[in-house]
């Protein structure tokens, strides 16, 4: 039985290591929402589970402040 390497995860969003994902970092957040305003899945962002949770929180805070739409 051959040992298979795990598939390389390739994401579409690049965030520097250690750089926080905040509600103010709109350049990152806009890459992580669909044209309808939905949050993009981990499969597409390529984020770790922890990063994806940060992203979720940041997008919801940005929506509260009307920086991002709830729905387009």
């Amino acid at each position: 039985m051959s040992t298979q390497k795990p598939p390389v995860r390739r994401g579409s969003v690049a965030v520097k290591r250690g750089e926080p994902i905040e509600y103010k970092s709109l350049e990152i957040l806009v890459k992580c929402i669909t044209p309808q305003g939905q949050i993009v899945s981990r499969k597409r962002t390529g984020f770790s589970a922890q990063r994806q949770r940060e992203l979720k929180k940041a997008i919801k805070q940005a929506r509260h402040l009307a920086l991002l739409p709830f729905v387009v």
Binding site: Q4, P7, R10, P35, A66, L67
Partner: protein, 179 residues
């Protein structure tokens, strides 16, 4: 015991047009009234909003870092919610004031600082990224989203469905094929 907070406040542009110093002082006074200390407070941005808030389509954002004792926090939050100057707010507990934030706040305190006046009308096309340098435009919502392609036949995606094969997800299916 006190905690450090980061607060983002949406200020009505009518108040900003009247006097930015007064609009900022309205927030600072509230914090100090409840025993807090304001470390920095500055205009973060003036933007078109994603949806109307209190009937306004544009607002000025005030970003402040302040310390508040635990006893005064609930009362401060209630007073902010009742304040007519603040349309909406977000308070987050933070560990420290960012170093860059002190410099940016000091810029606003400089005598030669001139606040960019808000537009005279309350309209503006919303884009997530605003106030970009000239020549750059935000095209976030202009890109087609293939997830929402209603013409695509239902069922599992095949490789032919991907215009760019690099977009093809790697996962259990591709592992099975490579065996």
């Amino acid at each position: 015991m006190t905690h450090l907070f980061e607060g983002m406040f949406l200020i009505d542009n009518d108040r900003v047009r009247a006097s930015w110093a007064d609009a900022k002082a309205a927030v600072v006074t509230l914090v100090e009234k409840h025993g807090g200390t304001v470390h920095t407070a500055r205009r973060w941005d003036e933007r078109a909003l994603a949806y109307p808030v209190s009937g306004k389509r544009r607002a000025t954002f005030l970003l402040a870092y302040y310390e508040v004792p635990n006893a005064g926090l609930a009362n401060l939050t209630r007073d902010i919610e009742l304040s007519e100057a603040v349309m909406r707010h977000l308070q987050l507990s933070v560990a420290e004031v960012p170093a860059a934030e002190r410099e940016l706040a000091a810029t606003e305190q400089a005598p030669d600082f001139v606040l960019p006046p808000p537009p005279s009308d309350d309209v503006g096309l919303y884009r997530p990224l605003q106030n970009l340098p000239e020549g750059e435009e935000d095209d976030t919502f202009d890109e087609p989203d293939d997830d929402m392609d209603m013409d695509r036949p239902r069922g599992r995606r095949r490789d032919d469905d991907y215009l760019d094969l690099d977009d093809r997800p790697s996962g259990p299916r591709s592992r099975v094929e490579s065996r």
